[in-house]
Amino acid sequence: MVDITLTEEQRMLRETLERYLGREHPMEARTAGAGATGTDGHWRSFVEMGLPAVPVSADNGGIGGGGTEIAIIAEQLGRNLVAAPYLETAVMAASIVEACDDVGLRRSLAEEIVAGSVYAVAHFEPDSRFDAGHVNASAVPQGDGFVLRGAKASVAWADRAERLLVSARLDGGVAIFAVDPGAAGLDVKAYVTNDGQRGADLRLSGAKGVLVVGPERGGDAIDTAIGRARIYLACEAAAIMRRMCDLTREYVATRQQFGTAIGSFQVIQHRLVDMYSQTEQSLSMALLAAGSWDAPAAERDRVTSAARALVSRAGRFVGQNAVQLHGGIGMAWETPLSHYFKRLTMNGIQMGDESYHLRRFASLSGAAQRAR
């Protein structure tokens, strides 16, 4: 039976976050700044609410939440357009840490995450595009650790991170290393992203790393982290689309031209209805993907790619039309809608665009058929 009701704890999580963000995260703060929003204050509050602990397993000192909890958090951070390293720290890094074989190291890293350390995951490289298997960075043993060489691109929040998890080739596989952001041989070129978050390109020229996941499990750990990140992104996108639909509905109901609200024109009504229906479809797919959080990789990836393909396509439609129906005012920095549009656009190309996921789904879906 399909059950979409939330438990008491899940409802509380949503209400707590909703209340906090409604009170402490006004959109004016977002539109006032010229670049990235400061998140430090909010991050401390999120840590107090226990958000980074949510997906960390109970064994490692966390809450042991899954797809539903992440869907709730992604929805709230998305609809309030919060710029914070939650996806990087709590979804991606925490997932990688769970795969660490060394119990002592695993617990201490998980403890750091639960306590609020900001993590960034440096995996994709300047020419990897969306191929998670394309890793040229390499690691060689030195002393009691490793040294890393190579380049990593578009690493979200790397310049704010207290610890970096970096993938590199080792013994024919891909391993993951913890790197201190201040390490010698690490150059971080940071920038503000189009959606007001932080990004960086990394150059590793002999930076020291501590092995977190070895080459026999490193590739799977990366795939799981990215698979879960895509679930988060789908949920975030659906929440942003819902918000953009609502803002557009409010706007066309009040904007007067030709002596009447423009929402009384059929062309506007039909467009808005298409935006809403695509948003509903997106939310459904995002939740379906969230349900595959703990599923075997093949199943998780098949459903997640379906969700990402649909959500990216719908996001383009909803985003572009929300701006269009607002007219000039939808283009202005002062209008919150424009910031939702930018985030939604960037969301649509993070870790695979529509075309990438459509092809991946076709191939995984074909494989599932053949296995039957």
Binding site: D195, V267, I349
Partner: protein
């Protein structure tokens, strides 16, 4: 029937293209190629370079400094300039106010303004839209009240492109509010330095300062700054927007962007592979190329009717759709650059001086999203796509 350019046409085109190659500042051409903003000096410098040859105003009559070209030659000129990444000439002077002065202005206005417009002596801005008069332009409320030898102008304009550079505005103001809303509108030339004019920037979502709000508080506008007849502004405005519409398809510019897209896509795939080998990407690029071929051919078809002096009613009705097709193509191209850049295009150009890793070849990546965001304006300005469709529907008998 023949859609090929003749040898003379090709030679004509090459003459213009080679002039651009030899005379444009390479840095300006690069900025245009990568969709980066130009400074006022860069704009004006280029406008004077081609203004001296009459190419800034190819549609003007010869007696006012136009080159006396056919509609086809004008089209070829636009294509040739765009293909070499020449900056687009600010249309407010040459294409908005100038045709109104030429057709409806008095002798003094023609003698004073036209040579100055041709040589970009003034920077003109367009004072049409108001907060409550966008798509419904005739609802404008800025008032000009006659007081002896001048008007007193009060009100507000919005989305005024580059008002921060401008010293003159072509302004639509209401001189009479007793009749229908389309009546009593007058075209005024407003000195942007006059007391009572203030300009407030509007920053658009990608972070650039392109448009403004302009406020008028008891601004004195001399009576001689009325262009044409008082109260006829609505018909002049429609005349101006008609001009704007023929320019906005920007076929030449899109052809240049398409070439550039293929160039950058050739190494934008995983491991430096070509994205043009990716069937989805290749199909979208192919579709935009086909759409562009169709639009160019449609333009040529309409222009040949123009040159033959036999534009049909059906063509007239369809002209607003040229803008819609043109902006759809431009916006699709801007989106394909974002897709080509992938996650690397998340970097904001303003935060990075245009390059990633100090590598100049990455400039297109950091400008791709900003241009995509910025270019959403194309289906909004100059009459939104919805309004263009509405006009076309009205143009068609029985709808």
């Amino acid at each position: 029937m023949n859609f090929r350019y003749s040898d003379e046409d090709e030679a004509f085109r090459e003459g213009i293209a080679s002039f651009v190659r030899n005379n444009i500042d390479p840095e300006v051409a690069r900025k245009v190629r990568d969709n980066l903003p130009l400074t006022k000096e860069e704009h004006v410098g280029w406008e004077r370079t081609i203004g001296a040859r009459g190419w800034a105003a190819p549609h003007w009559p010869v007696e006012h400094g136009g080159p006396g070209w056919s509609a086809l030659q004008r089209f070829i000129c636009e294509e040739a300039l765009a293909s070499e990444c020449a900056p687009r000439v600010n249309p407010c002077g040459v294409s908005l106010i100038a045709p109104v002065i030429i057709h409806f202005g008095n002798a003094e206005q023609k003698a004073y303004y036209l040579p100055r417009i041709l040589m970009s002596e003034d920077w003109w801005c367009q004072g049409f839209s108001e907060p409550n008069a966008g798509s419904d332009l005739a609802a404008l409320r800025t008032r000009a009240e006659r007081h002896g030898d001048h008007y007193l102008l009060n009100g507000q304009k919005i989305w005024t492109t580059q008002a921060q550079y401008a010293n003159l505005m072509v302004c639509l103001a209401r001189t009479d509010s007793s009749g229908r809303k389309q009546e009593g509108i007058t075209v005024l030339i407003v000195d942007m330095q006059a007391p009572g004019v203030s300009v407030r920037p509007i920053i658009t979502m990608e972070g650039s300062h392109e448009v403004n709000e302009v406020f008028f508080e008891n601004v004195k506008v001399p009576v001689e700054n009325v262009v044409g007849e008082e109260g006829k502004g609505w018909s002049y405005a429609k005349f101006m927007l008609e001009y704007e519409r023929f320019g906005t398809p920007e076929v030449g510019r899109s052809k240049q962007q398409l070439r550039r897209l293929k160039e950058i896509a050739a190494t934008a795939g995983t491991g430096g592979s070509s994205l043009l080998d990716d069937p989805d990407f290749a199909a979208r690029v192919a579709w935009v190329e086909i759409e562009l071929m169709a639009l160019e051919t449609t333009m040529l078809r309409f222009l040949s009717e123009d040159d033959g002096g036999r534009r049909s009613a059906a063509t007239d009705a369809a002209i607003p759709m040229l803008k819609v097709r043109g902006t759809d193509i431009q916006q699709e191209l801007s989106e394909l650059f974002v897709i080509a850049a992938g996650a690397r295009g998340m970097a904001w150009q303003h935060g990075l001086d245009g390059t990633l890793d100090g590598n100049a070849d990455t400039r297109w990546m950091t400008s791709s999203a900003s241009h995509y965001f910025n270019w959403r304006k194309a289906s909004i300005y100059g009459g939104s796509s919805e309004i263009q469709r509405q006009i076309t529907a009205k143009n068609m008998a029985g709808l």
